[in-house]
Subunit: 157 residues, 2 copies
DNA sequence: ATAATATTGTTGTAAATGCAACATATTTTT
DNA sequence: AAAAATATGTTGCATTTACAACAATATTAT
């Protein structure tokens, strides 16, 4: 078993690994939730739709940067959302360049609202044993952590 | 843009999404680090090796539960680690059942030590702007968060 | 005792993901 | 003006991943 001294020497005791593990569980939970609630979107589609809803007129590459997926996959996610009628895409220009911008549709807004309501209470039940202050503090620290990461990680999107 | 009221209504403002995003960045960083430092293991292999090193004689399924991967992939990761000579596997029994147990080799220990040292300072530079207390608090809260998740998420390993 | 169930590991497969290459168009450099 | 570099989106491919099916064995139920 582990002794206290070598505790911090192990990767598996680092905050990095703890993050990875927690997020892995989190993704599993939302996956199961989406299946159980018979939501016709993947979690990635849901996150993308939510992001589009608060960033009307965003272009694909900028969206990719927000959702941290590469351009290829972002395009595929948007294909699916468009095909389901939740977003519309249109050609426009950004800095004199042709880009594909997008916006959420009425149908998409309704769907998003429905999912948000369905999912919210379930997800909140997970954090109900943790105080609001703790939640917020973690969210704060994670955000600064993320900002730090963004400085270091090379992102080619 | 967002107003303060609907802030908490969006999935992308939830701690769940924040976790997902931070972890995604984190994984990208470690990937880039492993490539840059020319480490001949994947991050998953590294995490598995580290886990084996503190759980000598563990069987595959139990390891799978610890690293949160399914049995199939756990087996494949171990194949690779064994082929590289970092672990040894041997048949044993657990509750009267034949299982494949494993342990880390001398070579594996040396490799793990090397990687730990190489990686540690790089990863610490990411959290250097965040106070130790914050880091620990986040790690604490993440752990209780994870325990809560483990109660809810159905894991079939 | 026999059948049903459970545990453990492996194999196969379909989906997701990331990365590189490409196509197109625009900007910058020479 | 021509060439090189950049921005944007798409296509193809190789890797990763999860899930289901299988094989072998042991336990439990009937």
């Amino acid at each position: 078993m582990k002794t206290k001294q070598d505790c911090k020497l192990h990767y598996t005791d680092s905050i990095h690994y703890e993050l990875e593990q927690t997020s892995r569980l989190m993704k599993k939970l939302t996956n199961q939730l989406f299946e159980k609630l018979e939501i016709g979107l993947t979690i990635d589609e849901y996150a993308a739709l939510d992001t589009v809803s608060v960033n009307a007129g965003i272009c694909q590459r900028d969206l990719a940067k927000l959702i941290l997926k590469d351009r290829a996959n972002t395009g595929r996610i948007l294909d699916s959302l468009e095909q389901k009628g939740f977003i519309t895409r249109f050609i426009d220009t950004k800095n004199n360049r042709l880009v594909k911008k997008m916006g959420i549709t009425e149908k998409g807004l309704r769907e998003l609202d429905t999912i948000n309501k369905k999912v919210k209470q379930y997800l909140e039940s997970v954090t109900k044993t943790i105080s609001d202050e703790d939640i917020e503090r973690v969210q704060e620290t994670l955000k600064s952590f993320r900002l730090e990461l963004e400085k270091v990680v090379q992102i080619n999107i």
